[in-house]
């Protein structure tokens, strides 16, 4: 894979990031950065704070201390909306809408990458032919694929993927890796949480290992 020129600013940079829930430290302080064309693999056991970290980065939770820079500027709502696509545990799909209607709504809400059509994205994630199926009729893995299609259509350069491999079959895991690879090649970046049981995408990867910081407190 050809290496691109190192960009002037990292796409995402966190300095001294810390989060506590009811005075119980969840993670931190963490320092890391992700450049365009890079993936950051966030590894840790259950309860190590991987999901919380992604929610903090997405702006769904407020960090207790530390700074987050996106594209060289402090992360605010506008910068986040432009730069971040978030795939969480909850898919954000309406059960009573069809697959295509769900995609159209989410694109209408968050924008759509130029030159990409919802129908194409469904083909890429292997949901071609399901356009008119209601989301409630999909299996958990198919719902995940639908969320991946939404991600594919998103114009945001930074993907925050929380356990993207969960519920997917082997071919689906391969699909996530392929999508991340293509996204990085186009100048994007991705944060992927995993508890380590899956093969990482074959891209330039940094590793962030998270552990529970509460051990000494609990004693």
């Amino acid at each position: 894979m050809p290496l691109t020129d190192p960009p002037a600013q990292p796409l995402l940079e966190a300095r001294g990031l810390r989060f506590a829930r009811n005075d119980d430290p969840v993670f931190g302080p963490l320092d890391f950065s992700v450049d365009a064309g890079e993936a950051l693999l966030v590894q840790g056991d259950n309860g190590a704070g991987k999901t919380t970290l992604l929610r903090v980065l997405a702006g769904l939770l407020r960090a207790d201390a530390g700074e987050i820079d996106i594209d060289g500027g402090a992360a605010g709502p506008a910068r986040r909306a432009r730069a971040i696509a978030y795939l969480g545990h909850l898919p954000g799909l309406k059960a009573d809408l069809s697959v295509l209607e769900n995609l159209e709504f989410l694109c209408g809400l968050q924008g759509r990458r130029r030159g990409q059509l919802p129908e194409h994205a469904l083909g890429i994630v292997g949901l071609a032919g399901y356009e008119d199926a209601l989301a409630r009729q999909l299996s958990a893995g198919q719902k995940k694929r639908l969320s991946l299609a939404r991600l594919w259509l998103s114009p945001a350069p930074l993907w925050l993927l929380d356990e993207p491999y969960a519920n997917l079959d082997l071919e689906g895991i391969e699909l996530v890796n392929r999508m991340v690879q293509a996204h990085l090649r186009a100048g994007g970046a991705a944060l992927v949480t995993t508890h380590g049981a899956y093969a990482a995408p074959p891209v330039r990867t940094r590793l962030l290992a998270m552990t529970r910081p509460v051990a000494e407190r609990a004693a």
């Binding site: 997405a58 702006g59 769904l60 939770l61 709502p77 506008a78 986040r80 909306a81 432009r82 730069a83 971040i84 696509a85 978030y86 969480g88 545990h89 909850l90 898919p91 954000g92 799909l93 309406k94 059960a95 009573d96 809408l97 209607e101 159209e104 709504f105 989410l106 694109c107 209408g108 809400l109 968050q110 924008g111 759509r112 990458r113 130029r114 114009p155 945001a156 350069p157 186009a186 100048g187 994007g188």
Partner: protein, 231 residues
Amino acid sequence: MKATSPLPGLPGTASALMRRDLRLLWRRRGDALQPALFALLVIVLFALALGGEAKVLASVAPAVLWVAVLLSGLLALDTLFRGDAEDGSLEQWMLAPVPLAWLVGVRTFMHWATTALPLLLATPFLAELMHLPRGQLPVLMASLALGTPLLSLLGAVVAALTVGMRRSGILLALLALPLYVPVLVFGAGSVAASAQGMDPVGALLLLGAGLVVSLVLAPLAAAAAIRIALN
């Protein structure tokens, strides 16, 4: 570079949300009738309990109609944000390139349009059931037209506060009712005033003023409450 793709603005996100809500309404059109049916039920029960005498009914008609509308609004209030909170839609709203308060405002408007507006249209028929004198109908309609959006906006704040709880049930009603009381007093009061030959405009203006204030403040408060509830 991908980042050059244009992001949707205020009108674009609003129309996407409106289209989604209309589609959802159509998919569950049976549920959509519930608030109107509930109000009809309350009014029929009142009419039966009071004995069906036109004179008696007419004297309590404004109060009964207003209470019926208020209760049916309360019944529908829990659905305002609950579904979107449970399936994770609210998280995606927060990541949209428009303020959360804007989306909350649009959603509240759609909720009003799909639950309160049909009731508003059915009011002349319901008023006929209660033998409301025809001359009072315009005042009743005006008070409901100003009052029901105000109820929806106040309710949105309360619904947002309780959206993090699994079952909010009676708590939602207990929190909302104190806020609803002034609206009920001025709404039903305006019709009662016109029935006694007094000027209802004062009460209607107060409702209008309340509507303007809550139109600005309620979405902001509800958006802040949602952020807290989702923590």
